[in-house]
């Protein structure tokens, strides 16, 4: 096999070396492009002066200011609550759906499978405004007619919206995990006398768990980070973290925003670490 190489017309090694250099330089520049802005942001969050471009000394002043900021803490609490509840609900529904579609054949199964991908494909802003219209022009007037009280947009409507856009993502992740699922293990358990319930909890669920946790982690991150759907379903009384950051970022650049961004970056890194540990367990 190797002998063929000797007779092959020699390719110009300079071209290859050049190619490698060009590829390496491109990758280096691209990574620099991705990370230099983040590094600058982090560095100046520790700056003593208000400048975000000229270093004058190390200080934790901007971080201290964050922790005394009531509005920020309330936004953080809202975000965590919304992410937690919407993750639980969407993970349960998404997982059930993945199992149901993977293992059973029934009417409308294929149309429902297609419907599940639609929320991933359509632009987020369209989903946001559609929910705004739905709540304000359909659900709220209906509830007003029924219970004489007109609800307003707030944490519950945000949770409803986040569950809706998270279900498809959990579904896709769990479904992918089901593709490589060895069903003979379940048959073996049943042959050995386990009933269906026991088979599910002792065999199916543990094997599926990394997929479920992966889906849940994705849902949690998407919910924490979401801006566009949230902004249309939040009303004015209950900002989440992204809405709060948005209002700051629009106004200008300050070291406080740098500090807040750095805290969020650290939190994201924590989630990345968690997701890698999960993947390793697969």
């Amino acid at each position: 096999m190797r002998a063929g190489h000797a007779t092959r017309p020699q390719r110009d090694p300079i071209v290859l070396r050049l190619g490698k250099t060009v590829l390496g330089t491109n990758a280096l520049l691209a990574f620099a492009f991705l990370y230099v802005p983040i590094l600058v942001l982090i560095v100046f969050s520790f700056n003593e002066s208000r400048s975000v471009a000229r270093w004058s000394g190390f200080s934790l002043e901007w971080y201290q200011k964050l922790f005394g900021n009531e509005a920020l803490l309330r936004a953080a609490r809202n975000s965590l609550l919304i992410a937690f509840v919407s993750t639980l609900a969407s993970t349960a529904m998404g997982t059930l759906t993945a199992l149901g579609i993977d293992r059973y054949r029934f009417r409308l199964r294929n149309s429902f499978d297609a419907l599940l991908y639609l929320p991933i494909v359509i632009p987020e802003i369209v989903m946001g405004i559609s929910l705004l219209l739905f709540f304000n022009l359909a659900l709220f007037p209906l509830l007003q007619a029924l219970i004489q009280v007109r609800p307003t947009l707030g944490v519950p409507t945000i949770i409803i919206a986040h569950i809706a856009f998270n279900i498809p993502f959990v579904y896709v992740v769990v479904r992918a995990r089901l593709v490589g699922f060895d069903r003979t293990l379940e048959q073996a358990a049943q042959d050995l006398g386990a009933n269906e319930w026991r088979t599910f909890w002792r065999i199916t669920f543990p094997l599926l768990l990394p997929g479920i946790l992966g889906g849940a982690l994705l849902a949690f991150t998407l919910s924490l980070d979401d801006f566009l759907v949230t902004v249309f379903t939040a009303g004015t009384a209950s900002p989440t973290m992204p809405l709060y950051i948005y209002s700051l970022v629009r106004r200008g650049v300050t070291p406080e925003i740098n500090a807040l961004s750095t805290v969020l970056l650290a939190a994201s890194m924590g989630l990345v670490g968690l997701s890698l540990t999960l993947q390793r367990r697969r």
Binding site: G4, R8, P9, R11, L23, G24, N26, A27, A30, F31, F33, L34, Y35, P37, V40, L41, F44, V52, A92, L96, T97, L99, G100, I101, Y104, F106, F112, L116, L118, V121, I122, P123, E124, I125, V126, M127, I129, S130, L133, F134, N136, L137, A138, A161, A164, I167, P168, T221, L228, F232, I245, V249, R250, V253, S261, L264, L265, S268, S275, L276
Partner: protein, 287 residues
């Protein structure tokens, strides 16, 4: 036997919660958008009651002003997508050619931005380009300019911010394709007398095309409807479909027109993606 009958209904039962949730909070809201786009607006947002049917908002969509904004959004999205593929493809190729240890580290570096808040990343660009930012500070310090440049609030800043935001999304699908690609095929082409350029264009590029197309969709779809980047880095001076729609639900208080515009955006995106899935499905059929 009763067990079998129970089995048959179990699949539908399992999907009922998600199906109801999505019908109620996804499909129905979309239908309401369709309905609202055909009725007259109310004065302070909402719609005029009793409802009055009109096609005015669709007629307004083809007004040169709005067509122009649609076109400039598409153009920005095409430039951003092109830049992401142009930089991302060689990047993916490089990553696939290094030793496993370095490869995993680089893939992690590509993936970290996925997990990072998009607003934070957009802010990082605003920070660099602002008048009191690092770039201007360096230029002033080096004596290259006498007054800070206005780097923000123009098309360039928006395109840069979008490429920054979506480059990682472009790299991963192309990496997946290139990694599966059998490099000995390039050698085979070379053995048969093709130069590198020809081997790349005739063998490697067509075989890694599915990854490129996936990247294009993953970048183009969110970018054409982008709101955050044009809003923050465009500062009201760069208009895209997303900022235009947002305005109809904010200061302009024209919900029906915003609905018509959203539908136009959605149809554009969904038709594009459906076209991709049809053509890629055809490609997978055996010859």
């Amino acid at each position: 036997m009763s067990g079998k009958a129970e089995h048959r209904s179990r699949g539908p039962l399992m999907v009922v919660p998600a199906a109801l949730w999505l019908l109620l909070f996804f499909t129905l809201p979309l239908l309401i958008v369709v309905a609202i786009s055909f009725v007259e607006r109310g004065r302070a947002g909402g719609v005029k009651l009793p409802l009055v049917f009109t096609l005015a908002y669709y007629q307004r969509l083809v007004d040169p002003l709005y067509l122009g904004i649609f076109w400039s959004s598409v153009r920005i999205a095409l430039i951003v997508t092109g830049a992401c593929v142009f930089v991302g493809y060689p990047m993916a190729l490089f990553i696939s050619r290094v030793a496993p240890r370095g490869r995993n580290a680089m893939l992690l570096l590509v993936m970290i931005p996925f997990w990072t808040n998009f607003l934070v990343r957009t802010y990082a660009i605003k920070l660099l380009l602002s008048t009191e930012g690092v770039v201007n500070n360096l230029l002033l310090g080096a004596g290259l300019v006498e007054a800070p440049l206005d780097l923000l609030f123009n098309n360039f800043a928006v395109v840069l911010g979008l490429v920054y935001g979506y480059l990682p999304f472009a790299v991963l699908p192309m990496y997946a394709s290139i990694e599966k690609f059998d490099m000995t095929l390039v050698e085979a082409a070379a053995d048969l007398g093709a130069n590198l350029r020809r081997a790349f264009l005739r063998v490697m590029l067509p075989l890694t095309a599915p990854g490129i197309v996936a990247s294009v969709i993953l970048v183009f779809v969110p970018v054409v409807g982008a709101f955050i980047t044009p809003d923050i880095l465009g500062g009201g001076k760069v208009e895209m479909i997303g900022t235009l729609i947002n305005r109809q639900f904010g200061v302009a208080r024209n919900w029906p027109f915003g609905s018509a515009m959203s539908l136009a955006l959605m149809v554009m995106v969904v038709v594009g993606v459906a076209y991709y899935f049809r053509t890629s499905a055809e490609k997978e059929r055996p010859l």
